[in-house]
Every structure is written in structure tokens, then in C-alpha cells.
Symmetry: C2
Subunit: 289 residues, 2 copies
């Protein structure tokens, strides 16, 4: 069993990006974070992204909007950033309040500034295997981990647990692409899959993105599989000062010893997501020239 150290790989990417940004004369890349309301997880995620941007030398600006903003008004705010030539990337932090339809917002972020890759045009281009798509950051991070660890994918069976637009669907589509990482056989399972365990057991690479704490148990994983844990769940833990700890969608204790490679939570996919976002921002900047 080898632990995939997402912190270390993300840090390598951040260093690579820092060197690239340092070479830019004049105006530096700029990303705008739009946060609606005061959800503590969103505050924490956006803060992490701001810090990473600063570390790399990417400018960032945080726009905080009230919880009760209307969808129309939020669209107006997004459009301002779409039109601002000094802004290269726009990220609207999800989840949005329930009165706002997220997809409408994501689809109205300019596809050229859509560093989150949630826009329908970028998602379609990902399916088309077009090089100029912005790929959503968590799936892109998963692929980058596979790539840097040189884990073979061709002809392998990738089983994705979860069909979300943000992780499951794009991740599976990426493994279907020609080339490396890609050329895999891909199965999508989800909440309506009755025999999920038997599908998971056949995976050479298992992507757990189903949003259920420690859902993947030891008997669901084939000996020698690679397990990528995308879940970030808080569970109560009275031994912690905070009263909780973070766990993934995988029961790490049961699963780890059976795997060839496994990502921990925290410190696996999470830091990669932020690193890939920064890569997308630099790419958006380059394309704007």
C-alpha cells in the first residue's frame, strides 16, 4: 500500500505555478471569488483559495454577497466580472442558497473565465476531448494524481461512485478519453445502483464521490486496487477539541491495506482541487492574451 500524498503533489504544482507567474511581466493573473452568504465551510474554502493564490502571486478579489440576494442580482454581479478585462478567472463558491439555481449561475460565468469548469460549454468540450476546455478542479486533480503517480489506466476498470456534475460525471468522462490518463473502461454507480458493492469490487481504480462518510468498506475493494477518496465529511469525535473530525467516503482503516494506492482524507484530493484551480486561472490568463 502506498499513500498518495496530495499535499505534497499539490505543493509541487503550486511551486511550478509560482515560477510561471513570476516570469509574467506586468499585470498578473487575477481571480475573483464570489461568496454568497456566510456558510462556514464556504468561508473556509474560499479563504484557502485566497491564500494559495497569494502564495503563487495570483491576484484575487473576494466579493461577498448577502444570503438573500436574488438570482437576477447575482447574475448581474457575475456579468460585471465577465465584462471586467482585469479579471481572468471567476469562481462562484458552491453551494448557493436554495432559492438560486446553481446551474444557471455557472452557465452564465463566461466560459473563458470559468476556472471552476462548471459551465455547460466547458463540460461539453471535456466530453468532446477538446484541449481548450476548463476541466472542473476536483476531477482534474484526481487525474493529475494518477498521472504523477504513473498509475496505469489503459484498459483498466474505473468505477465511479457518484454521478454529480462537479465530480462523478466529469471524472468518469476524463478516464474515457483517449491517451493517458484515459482509455479506461468506466462504470458510474450512484444512489440508485442496487448492487453497488459488486460493481465496486471489480474496480481497478475506485473513485468514491458519493458523499457518505466511510461508505466504502473493506469488502467492497479488490486486492491491489487504487482508491481515490473524494469525500469530505465531518463526523462527531469527542476526542477532538472541535468536537468533530474529517473523514472521507472510504473507511480508510478497513480499505487501505488492500490497496496498491490510496488517497487519505484530509491531504489527498482536497489540496489538489485548489492547486488545479490555480492552474486553470493561469491558463485563463494566458488565453486572454
Amino acid at each position: 500500500m502506498e499513500l498518495i500524498n496530495g499535499n505534497e503533489i499539490a505543493q509541487n504544482i503550486i511551486e511550478e505555478l509560482t515560477l510561471q507567474v513570476a516570469k509574467i511581466d506586468g499585470v498578473k493573473p487575477c481571480v475573483v471569488f464570489i461568496r454568497v452568504g456566510e456558510d462556514p465551510a464556504s468561508i473556509s474554502y474560499v479563504r484557502k483559495k485566497e491564500k494559495t493564490a497569494t502564495a503563487i502571486g495570483i491576484k484575487s478579489r473576494l466579493k461577498i454577497l448577502p444570503e438573500n440576494i436574488s438570482q437576477e442580482q447575482l447574475l448581474v454581479e457575475v456579468e460585471k466580472e465577465n465584462l471586467d478585462p482585469s479579471v481572468h478567472g471567476i469562481l462562484v463558491q458552491a453551494p448557493l442558497p436554495s432559492h438560486i439555481e446553481e446551474k444557471i449561475i455557472f452557465n452564465n460565468v463566461s466560459s473563458k473565465k470559468d476556472v471552476d469548469g462548471f459551465n455547460a460549454l466547458n463540460l461539453g468540450k471535456l466530453c468532446q476531448e477538446q484541449d481548450d476546455a476548463f476541466i472542473s478542479c476536483t476531477p482534474a486533480g484526481i487525474l493529475e494524481l494518477i498521472k504523477r503517480k504513473k498509475i496505469p489506466t489503459e484498459g483498466k476498470h474505473v468505477v465511479v461512485l457518484g454521478r454529480s456534475l462537479i465530480v462523478g460525471k466529469p471524472a468518469g468522462m476524463l478516464f474515457l478519453r483517449k491517451g493517458f490518463p484515459g482509455n479506461a473502461t468506466v462504470t458510474f454507480c450512484h444512489s440508485r445502483t442496487p448492487d453497488l458493492k459488486s460493481h465496486a469490487q471489480r474496480a481497478d481504480i475506485l473513485i468514491a464521490a458519493i458523499g457518505k462518510p466511510q461508505f466504502v468498506s473493506g469488502d467492497m475493494v479488490k486486492q491491489g486496487a487504487t482508491v481515490i477518496d473524494v469525500g469530505i465529511n465531518r463526523i462527531e469525535d469527542s476526542s477532538k477539541k472541535s468536537g468533530f473530525r474529517l473523514v472521507g467516503d472510504v473507511n480508510f482503516e478497513q480499505v487501505a491495506s488492500k490497496t496498491q494506492f490510496i488517497t487519505p482524507v484530509p491531504g489527498g484530493v482536497g489540496p489538489m482541487t485548489v492547486a488545479m484551480l490555480m492552474g486553470n486561472t493561469l491558463e485563463a490568463f494566458k488565453r486572454s492574451k
Copy 2:
């Protein structure tokens, strides 16, 4: 075993569309077919589409362009139709000559007139489960067959053989959607899948879209499965006047008796593709109002 009669179902759809078009006062829906070169199969497909449009009362116009047209000039021709308010749907018949990059052409057909559903924006919206996507006609036709035959999909295992942008990928994504037909577990296999037979054998619904004549043999299909054959291949047959006959990607003789439902070739998915194209054209017309 029950044969799914695509001709009959397509005819029902055509009759439904005819009634709807008859009710439109004034200007009727109009679709433009752009054909590049003189490929006999393309000529035949476009002719079939023209005839069906006429039968329904949809106006059509055929634009024939020379085989050696440049990509740039073809884009100019597409843009003319994008800008023409009397045109509601545009179909650029594939395959295009090898010097033209098809995806570039498809992505430059206005997404509002993209009745073929090949545009990246429509493909992305399909993944997003947005209602306003134009869904490419063959996958839409497959879903319509499943729907009209009331074949259960929830929790069923759909195995798609083929990862093309025009059939395999969108068909699989459609079966992943919430609702009916949908909520299936979906596996994508393709030319790089080493153990394709073992995957196919597990399918409750097997979609053969791999472009190899009679590829799916009897031992690849589970007893009681539904088999949808998307292939249209010409094979030599000296007993025919033409010297050839059409076969699917499924070895019908071997497979049919094991299935619960199966589509024949010809007369299965093929006629549905044309019917769904007409449905998309009427929809594009309605949305243009």
C-alpha cells in the same frame, strides 16, 4: 423475445409531429441540411431526412458544398444559416472531409439551431440534465424506444459499447440522468477494453455502437437482456442485387433468442434518428418564438 419495431414507433412520432406542425399558423419550421461532397451514404441519409421533413410539413433546404471547401469557408456558410431568422434548425451531415475538423464545425452551429445536438454547449447541458438541451438524435431515439416500450431502467445495468461523441457518450449520460428513462448504472466499454465480453454479459440493457459488423455474439449477452443495435454496416452478400446487405453491430441470429427486447437492423434505431431530428427541429422553431 420481442422485436422493437423502430419503423412503427418512428412513424407514430412522425404522425404526432405532423399534427403539431399542421396547427402552426403562418411560417412553418425550416431546417437546412448542409452536405459537403458526394459521399453516397451522406446523399442517401440527407435525402431520407428531406423526405421525412416534407412528409411532416417542415420546410427544408439543401445546401451542397464542394468536397474541397476549406474549413473557413464552411464556417462562413454555417454562419450565414446561424444568422438567417427564417432558419430554425441546421444539420451539417457527417462525416466531413478529413481536412475539416468536425468538432469545430459542430461547435459553430448556433446552439439554438443545433438540431443534431453535437454542439459542446448542448452536450454539456445534457450532462447537466438541463431541459433546454438539444439531445443528439440517435441517443434520443434510443431513449424514446426504451420509453415507449416501457422497459425499466432504474437500477438496471446499461453497458454501452462505444465511446463516440455522437452515440456512446451521450447515450450513456442519458441513462445516468434522474427519472425515466434513467437512474441506471452505466458502463462504457470501447476498443481499449480488454474484457469487453465479460462486461457485455452483465448488461441488462446492451447498447452496441462500436461500428463493427455483427460484433456482439450470442455468448456476450445475458438471458433476458434488452439489446439496442446502433450499428449500420454494409457487408457483401452475393444473393442481393446490390451485392451487399446492411447488418448491425449485433449478430442478430445468435443474440435475438436470448433477449427480452431487441432492435433489428435495418428498422430499429435508424428510423428513430430521423424522427428525433424532426422533433428537435420543431422544438427549435418553438423556442425561436
